[in-house]
């Protein structure tokens, strides 16, 4: 009876809808193959629903009706090739996003990392740089900036160019200030930025401790050996298998007892890495690579 009611209300033929969806899935698969063959990026491990929406948006921007029509553009338009991946991988960020995580880093994790003579911190998927800027500010405040190198990487060369300048894409606002304070900050956030032409730029002595590089966590090797790896709101774009490949890369890049920080709504609960990463603070999403004798 329920099914009959649902049928009665349907306005398009079920077969027609199924066929539309099937065709669109073919187009998505073909476009993914074309991207891999033409420009070398493998998007097959991306979460299907969100990559589909991004393809759909690109089709609208390119003024074509079907996702499949992006294929000839990708193959034959030089301009389209050069920015295809950048247009598909734009991520947003913010200063001191997920403050309780930064608070835990300030109070618990960084004091431990102070015992190392020098530190390497890898921010994987740095987007427009806010995460790396926040980390530099935090390190400055706990007195560890001097012997620390922050390596900020992203797949998207456009956002890297932006991040490198140290200039914020959006001006400082009261939400930024509130998150900074919730992260344990006691100064004014504007203390770390200079303002010119209505734009704010991170102080040069902080920016000097951050290097920005192109890196694809799905296809490139371990970027550096690090005491701390932070990768937030990147793995949400991957399917479960691909998340595990990324976690494997992060695990391999961590020194023994090094820390991994993931996004607020990301989870290791159903992951095999639950066994080799010890939960330090679940709400803060901070985990530690177990030393070999404890595995």
């Amino acid at each position: 009876m329920v099914i009959n009611l649902a049928k009665e209300l349907s306005i398009l033929d079920e077969q027609q809808i199924t066929e539309e969806l099937r065709t669109e899935n073919i187009e998505i698969d073909l476009l993914i193959s074309a991207i891999k063959a033409k420009i070398g990026y493998d998007l097959s491990g991306y979460a299907r629903a969100s990559i589909k929406r991004r393809f759909g948006q690109l089709a609208i921007d390119e003024n074509v009706k079907y996702i499949g029509e992006l294929i000839p553009k990708l193959l034959h338009s030089h301009q389209c090739q050069s920015n295809f991946i950048n247009r598909l991988t734009v991520n947003v960020s913010a200063l001191f996003r997920h403050p309780i995580s930064f608070l835990s880093l300030r109070e618990t994790i960084l004091p431990y990392l102070a015992s190392f003579p020098r530190r390497d911190i890898w921010i994987a998927g740095c987007a427009t740089g806010e995460e790396a800027y926040s980390m530099a500010i935090l390190l400055e405040e706990v007195g560890l900036l001097n012997n620390t190198q922050i390596h900020a990487t992203d797949i998207n060369t456009d956002v890297l160019k932006q991040a490198q300048t140290g200039v914020l894409t959006k001006g400082l606002n009261k939400e930024d200030a509130a998150r900074y304070q919730a992260s344990g900050g006691t100064l004014s956030l504007s203390h770390y930025f200079s303002t010119a032409y209505n734009k704010q730029k991170l102080s040069q002595h902080l920016l000097d401790h951050i290097s920005f590089s192109h890196h694809n966590v799905l296809q490139d090797k371990v970027f550096c050996s690090a005491q701390l790896v932070m990768c937030r709101n990147v793995m949400i774009y991957f399917d479960l298998n691909t998340q595990n490949s990324a976690l494997s890369l992060f695990h391999n890049s961590l020194v023994q007892n090094g820390y991994l920080v993931i996004g607020e709504k990301e989870s290791l609960l159903n992951s095999p890495f639950n066994n080799v990463l010890k939960t330090i603070n679940e709400p803060a999403k901070i985990y530690q690579r177990k030393s070999i004798e404890n595995v």
Partner: protein
């Protein structure tokens, strides 16, 4: 477990009717319920806690790639778009806002429509913008059941009215009628 999946969307003025409908559902409702409500990111009380009050079903905020189980209400986290993947796990994204909103109801309803087709029940409540209307139309196009809170009973009528205007509404009902319909669905399923 019921084959049907319920998706609920709302914005300004929607928390009270959604809360009341969820609290009317029995603990063995057996259908997975997903809720997307616009909330200001700096709101002090958590949406999940508000909805869990008086609700006999377990109410939890969604984590990325979570696999839903029955008798549970899943709430989209503030600041993330929510999708249903084809293998039926949830996924999240921080892509740009849609209708100035993240989560956007259009995003979730559209992906739910494509995955669940005629087994999708989508309900749109009070709200002050047009988010949800397009998503609801997609649910209808894919054979799902679409219900809109009657504009007259909505604290802010823009959202339900937009859905009615674009032809997305299969039924326009009062909150109490929506409760009754859902309870009967459970009896039939």
């Amino acid at each position: 477990m019921s084959d049907f999946r319920m998706f609920i969307g709302g914005s300004a003025g929607s928390i009270a009717p959604i809360s009341s409908i969820l609290s009317s559902l029995p603990a063995d409702f057996n259908m997975i319920v997903t809720v997307v409500i616009h909330a200001s990111a700096d709101s002090k009380t958590s949406m999940t806690e508000t909805l869990a009050n008086n609700c006999k079903l377990t109410v939890i905020e969604i984590s990325d790639k979570e696999k839903p189980i029955p008798n549970t209400v899943y709430v989209a986290p503030s600041g993330y778009h929510l999708y249903v993947e084809n293998n039926e796990v949830f996924s999240l994204s921080v892509d740009k806002k849609v209708h100035f909103s993240r989560p956007a109801i259009d995003v979730t309803f559209t992906s739910a429509a494509e995955v669940f087709g005629k087994y999708c029940i989508a309900i749109l409540f009070s709200g002050a913008n047009e988010d949800g209307a397009e998503g609801l139309l997609n649910v209808k196009r894919h054979g799902g059941l679409t219900i809109v809170q009657s504009p007259a009973s909505s604290q802010v009528s823009i959202m339900p009215q937009s859905a009615i205007d674009n032809g997305a509404a299969s039924k326009v009902l009062l909150p109490i009628e929506i409760s009754d319909l859902l309870l009967n669905y459970n009896d039939l399923a």
